[in-house]
């Protein structure tokens, strides 16, 4: 059982962590949910604010229908119930970056109901995480607390930006599962194009609900860690918070239901100072907005336009290309990566292509901090390079070198691998005569090693290495191997 691994030890025995996530995903819209102001990141303070966003007297919300479409699209991607009738409610509370004194959200009747996604865990295990709901709501503005000794500053550029709040069931049992969940959710959103998933810019952030219990016990009291904005921090926050709760209980204390903040500097969570007992949001249907209604045709049309999603793509990669689940999982992480692979693999040995894409392309991009769209080596070139290995023009080792040369030269050079092989004289030597000479030389120069090799046939590898070195790596390794064995009088078993 995978869950056993997730238990964490305390002084009084093992504990289980129970996690549920509320992810706020910014809809990839150009205008806000209820106003025509822009959503672009990084604008001058208060420059993307309409009178509606600033809650001037008499201002009224008008819904951006594109955002409704994106919520439905996301709901379909989460294989969830789509509610053709939903209601916008007001969530009432006071905060300086909440201009209306309420957030327009959906409470009792959200646009999307229950669904599920599958997460991929490191050991190849797949686990289903339930989705409780998805609803549309407005983002708040931004408060800056560190600009002035006794003032906070408010920028309303984000005020009114459309968010999809995606609420999971409390189905996760470890930080790794929570992280895998966010990664998978982000992949789905990106595939769908409904959210750019950019966590640094706040387009995707998670409220993490953490509780602990002894295995088999009732659910413990949970704490909600607000607005955690990186996958790494989600892991840290959970580890810290679970340990804090366990220590607290084991020291005879009780966990208080709280809203907490994660401090990336210290890696700790702390209780927010706002008074919890005052929270009574007084939800009620927003009288400025009629119920959100759409036809089944509207939903069906969106359903027809859905792309292939990560899980389906992964299954296809395993079935059609014969990839391992791990490689397939890595390749489908981003739609662009998968597409790159498919172009490169067209008509070729897909496993070899997958190896090169994962081992060379992704590694290179990672190191250079480049997006796949900016890859200096095109998918077609990767394919050509694999072809050069397949027809014995270059060895795998040389291919790596060729790849690096192409990568360094960048996309402007546009040199195909065959050109580079030609220019640099990297063509593999398959001429047996030339290789034979090199083998003879090495054998002649190392009589002691020859004796050893005849005792321990594994030593043959050493000769192969020497020959490869002597030929500048251009000799065909299979041919070298065969000749070395022959000359040493070893069986080619």
């Amino acid at each position: 059982m995978a869950e056993i691994n997730n238990l964490i030890a305390g002084a009084t025995g093992n504990w289980e962590i129970v996690l549920g996530l509320e992810v706020h995903a910014q809809v990839a819209s150009t205008a806000k949910l209820f106003s025509g102001a822009a959503t672009e990141f990084g604008a001058e303070p208060n420059s993307q604010v309409s009178l509606v966003d600033a809650a001037m007297p008499g201002m009224l919300p008008v819904i951006n229908w594109f955002c409704v479409e994106q919520a439905v699209r996301t709901g379909l991607g989460l294989k969830a119930q789509i509610n053709n009738y939903s209601v916008f409610d007001r969530k009432n509370y006071f905060y300086p970056d909440l201009p209306q004194g309420y957030q327009i959200s959906q409470f009792q009747q959200p646009i999307v109901g229950e669904g599920a996604i599958e997460i991929d865990l490191d050991d190849g295990v797949v686990k289903e995480i339930g989705i409780e709901r998805l609803h549309l709501e407005q983002d708040a503005g931004k408060s800056l607390h560190d600009q002035h000794p006794d003032m906070s500053f408010v920028d309303l550029n984000r005020s009114g930006v459309a968010l999809m709040e995606i609420v999971s069931q409390p189905d996760m049992r470890s930080a790794a599962e929570a992280q895998a969940y966010v990664k998978k959710l982000r992949a789905i959103l990106r595939y769908l194009g409904t959210c750019d998933g950019n966590m640094e810019q706040g387009s995707l952030r998670a409220d993490v609900n953490v509780s602990v219990r002894k295995p088999g016990d009732e659910l413990g009291t949970r704490c909600e860690i607000k607005n955690v904005n990186s996958i790494r921090f989600i892991g840290q926050a959970i580890e810290y918070e679970a340990r804090r709760q366990i220590d607290l209980i084991e020291d005879g204390g009780t966990v208080e239901q709280q809203t907490r903040l994660f401090d990336p500097k210290t890696g700790e969570t702390r209780a927010m100072r706002s008074k919890e007992e005052a929270h009574d949001y007084r939800y009620f249907p927003d009288p400025d907005l009629l119920p959100l209604e759409f036809s089944q045709d509207f939903v069906d049309e969106i359903a027809e336009s859905l792309p292939e999603l990560p899980d389906d793509k992964k299954a296809r990669f395993i079935n059609d290309y014969g990839l391992t689940p791990y490689d397939a999982g890595v390749l489908v992480g981003e739609a662009e990566n998968a597409a790159f692979f498919e172009v490169a693999a067209e008509g070729r040995d897909a496993k070899a292509v997958a190896n090169m894409v994962i081992g060379s392309v992704f590694a290179g991009l990672n190191k250079a901090d480049l997006a796949i769209a900016d890859s200096p080596v095109s998918a077609a070139q990767v394919g050509q390079l694999v072809d050069l290995i397949a027809d014995d023009t270059v060895s795998g080792r040389t291919a790596k070198e060729v790849f690096e040369l192409m990568f360094e030269e960048g996309p402007d050079q546009g040199k195909d691998p065959s050109v580079i092989v030609e220019e640099k004289g990297l063509k593999q030597v398959t001429d047996t005569g030339a290789i034979e000479g090199a083998v003879d030389e090495v054998i002649a120069a190392n009589p002691d090693k020859v004796a050893q090799a005849q005792e321990r046939p594994k030593m043959a590898g050493w000769f192969v290495g020497q020959v490869m070195q002597a030929t500048g790596g251009k000799a065909n390794p299979q041919a070298v191997n065969k000749l070395v064995m022959q000359k040493l009088g070893l069986d080619e078993a």
């Binding site: 009178l51 809650a55 001037m56 919300p61 209306q100 004194g101 309420y102 009574d280 007084r282």
Partner: protein, 490 residues
């Protein structure tokens, strides 16, 4: 030249068209009267420069033959309508000296049609009240007096009703959430029209209760009301509760012919302790309409008595949320506090008057955990029953006739100590808001003290043409031509 302030809207329009006087002269005549009327406290801000500028522009349009429907007609604007560059306060301290960088749709429509703005009119703070005594600028005094006593002009559009009654503007904009156009019209001998919910855009009007608020005119005559509504009404993409329907020429609907019109008389409006005079007036109204060829039908609106209690949950609940934006952060009068929550609490304590606080607190309570179903949801269920009462009644009639108010105007200060007594003023008007229907109050007679009394006609949703047609017949039959004695001009 006759006193230009004696003219109604249609007369002034015709006089301007015939060039008997200029728009500037017309505006000046009214501005002069406005500036001498401080005893009434109807205006909270006069805008003479703006009036003169707009009137001069109107004269140009008239001269060039480009007169628009309300060209050069001077009107007052309730301080609930946001007016670009002109202080707008909803008569609440909390808005401080708020200057909107925008113009409400309704007033913009009026200016687009050539109307001239005289200034901003007093109202109950955030339109919460039935006497115009809760304004930050103090009470409005009714131009009508009984035995020398100063009376309220009704509320919340008391500045609008007083101004029209005292000829401080030929017409005025107003808003009606539970009777705030019709009740003050009844108290001042003027015509007050509350259109169907969604007929006029709410964009740019300070919200009280979003699902009930509706703008409309207060005027001297039914024809004037029709002229005003034709301009004020529009489909507005910025208010998704405004309705996508063409605006008819309401004046053209005033044919004077109501033969065969079925007029329903709801028996439940015969309340206990109804003054005999009102009972009598109501009967007179029935007779007038019958004489004009209407068919009188008895109908039942069984849930009428629950309208007021339902209203006093729904309106405060919405208001408690609508008024949350007045927090001293982005506009309005801020009070210092030791921290942010204290700043809010001090700002709202100092900024809101007692009646607003009461309603915000009732609304907060009704929406809070544990009370939501018992109060808020219950009130919304009752609201549906009330709306269905009307639907059923309209199966057998076309319009309804009722008194507008259970009494004539009362003395200033009389009901201030007793909010509940004050709320009862809306007993005949509030059902209309809950059901979203149009209603109009017509001055129909005087009581024993010589004070005006109103009759109310209620129409079907978007049945304003039929409603106005019937109202004009009633107006004609009543022949109400009394005017308050001018005691206030300084």
């Amino acid at each position: 030249m006759a006193d230009l302030t004696e003219l109604n809207l249609a007369e002034a329009r015709d006089g301007l068209a015939k060039k008997e006087f200029s728009a500037v002269e017309l505006a000046e005549a009214h501005m002069t009267r406005v500036s001498a009327s401080s005893a009434l406290n109807a205006y909270v801000l006069a805008t003479p420069e703006k009036a003169m500028e707009m009137a001069a522009e109107s004269d140009k349009k008239i001269a060039s033959g480009e007169a628009r429907p309300l060209e050069g007609l001077p009107i007052g604007v309730k301080d609930l309508f946001c007016t670009k560059g002109v202080r707008t306060t909803a008569c609440s301290n909390i808005l401080g000296d708020f200057i909107p960088p925008y113009e409400s749709t309704v007033t913009q429509n009026l200016w687009n049609d050539g109307a001239v703005m005289l200034g901003k009119l007093n109202n109950d703070e955030f339109a919460m009240g039935s006497s115009n005594e809760t304004s930050r600028f103090g009470a409005v005094v009714n131009p009508w007096k009984a035995n020398g006593t100063e009376l309220v002009p009704g509320g919340s559009s008391g500045g609008s009703s007083a101004a029209v009654a005292a000829r401080l503007g030929i017409a005025a904009t107003a808003t009606d959430t539970g009777g705030s156009i019709r009740q003050p019209a009844a108290f001042t001998g003027t015509v007050g029209l509350k259109p169907t919910y969604g007929r006029c855009s709410r964009w740019g009007i300070v919200a009280f209760a979003s699902s009930l608020d509706q703008a409309g005119p207060i005027t001297q005559t039914v024809r004037d009301a029709a002229m005003m509504l034709t301009s004020m009404a529009s489909f507005d993409k910025r208010d998704t509760t405004s309705v996508e329907r063409d605006v008819p020429d309401y004046e053209a609907a005033l044919t004077g012919d109501i033969k065969g019109l079925r007029v329903g008389i709801p028996q439940e409006y015969r309340v206990d302790n109804m003054p005999a005079e009102i009972e009598k007036l109501w009967q007179q109204g029935i007779d007038w309409l019958k004489a004009a060829g209407a068919e009188i039908v008895d109908v039942s609106l069984p849930h009428t008595k629950y309208a007021l209690p339902a209203y006093y949950i729904i309106a405060p609940a919405e208001a408690s949320s609508n008024l949350a934006r007045y927090d001293g952060v982005r506009y309005g009068a801020r009070q210092d506090g030791v921290d942010i929550d204290d700043m809010y609490a001090q700002t709202r304590a100092a900024g809101f008057g007692d009646e607003v606080k009461r309603r915000v607190m009732i609304g907060t309570y009704a929406l809070s955990a544990g009370y939501y179903d018992a109060y808020y949801v219950k009130a919304l269920q009752v609201r549906r029953l009330i709306a269905e009462d009307f639907t059923k009644a309209y199966e057998v009639c076309d319009v309804l006739l009722t008194p507008t108010t259970p009494s004539a105007a009362f003395p200033i200060g009389k009901n201030v100590e007793d909010p509940l007594e004050m709320y009862l003023n809306d007993v005949f008007t509030v059902t209309v808001n809950l059901a979203g229907l149009p209603g109009i109050s017509i001055p129909a007679g005087l009581d024993a003290d010589g004070l005006p009394l109103g009759l109310q006609l209620i129409g079907k949703a978007f049945g304003e043409e039929e409603l106005l047609r019937a109202a004009q017949v009633l107006e004609e039959a009543a022949g109400f031509d009394a005017q308050p004695q001018d005691w206030w001009s300084a």
